[in-house]
Amino acid sequence: MNTGHLEDELLQRYFDGELSNGSAAEVKQHLESCESCRRRHRSLERLRAFINMTVTDAAREVDFNALYGRIEAGVDKARDEKKVVSIRTRLGATLRRPVLIASVALAAAVMIIIFRTAPSEPVARGGAGRKRSERTVLVDSRSAIKLRNSEVVQVDFGANTGTVFEIALAEGVSTPVVWINDEADEMVGP
């Protein structure tokens, strides 16, 4: 660690909280004494804040307006169709902004990746084999622009049995379903 600066990948993994306590402490110690690496760390923070802001905003606006418009329309289906139409119109209007934001985010991420992979003075201690992982680091990491799918971390079916599976919604997009094999008596009222 004291022979040079922190490798990009190491810094990224520290940033993502993926290092063991020991390694994290070493990185932290280096950051405390090295302005150059601190700057790189800060730029990761800015990048993450920026991407979180834009991507989640975009997802929130686009998907939820659509989804809840649909649910609402389902609940109110006895009413006239005017409501559905107006929800669609509203959706069309709100779509433009998130798309713009997402485009800016994508452009920023792409440019940053290009800058990061451009030839530069060696900051990594690794050899040529390191280059490839550096290049993919932003794409694969927690701060990546790609929205990760929902995932079930743990489930306890208690007195029941059950299954967890995923429904594919689109290329690379899926959502989990937790299916309870309900053997209990139907329950009406508390």
Partner: protein, 162 residues
């Protein structure tokens, strides 16, 4: 190297500025998140599928597309504050508890969910999901009125009451 960093910084700041200009302040509050729980009664009996539901893509896929009727029984909009459980009473009297555990750096939310009879905890004691904003996940299978309850849980709807 210096110049490269300046360019990167300038770009990040420009982009962040644009983003801040376009985004709403409440969207950045990270310790609470809006959520919605919607309860659908799905059944094999002849009937209609609420047209609105037919457009939720997950419900068009197996196993959900096997049902011949689907109606929305209930829809609850809630706000989840980190560590504070919120309870929704389901049509069958069971209680669905939802709790925000953590906001992930990638924008997803780690939530805990349980479904139990009042004062009991043996039905679905624990489900932990890292939920992507805007894409509901489903808890299905409870028998109810000759059909099956399909519960959709969406995380991250913006609080809109200002």
């Amino acid at each position: 190297m210096k110049r490269r960093q300046q360019i990167i910084s300038a770009f990040i700041f420009t982009a962040a500025f644009l983003s801040a200009t376009f985004s709403r302040p409440e969207a950045r509050a990270s310790e609470s998140v809006a959520a919605e729980v919607f309860v659908i009664l799905a059944s094999d009996r002849d009937g209609t599928i609420a047209p609105a539901l037919a457009r939720i893509s997950a419900l068009r896929q197996p196993p959900f597309n096997g049902f011949r009727s689907m109606q929305v029984l209930q829809k609850s909009e809630i706000e989840l504050k980190k560590g504070e459980p919120v309870t929704v009473t389901l049509p069958n009297g069971r209680r669905l508890m939802l709790k925000l555990k953590q906001q992930m750096p990638d924008g997803r939310s780690k939530v805990q969910l349980s479904i139990n009879r009042p004062d009991q905890k043996d039905y679905l004691p624990l489900l932990e999901v890292i939920a992507k904003q805007g894409e509901p996940f489903f808890v299905a299978g409870q028998k109810y009125q000759g059909g099956t309850l399909v519960i959709g849980v969406g995380i991250g709807k913006r609080v809109s009451n200002g």
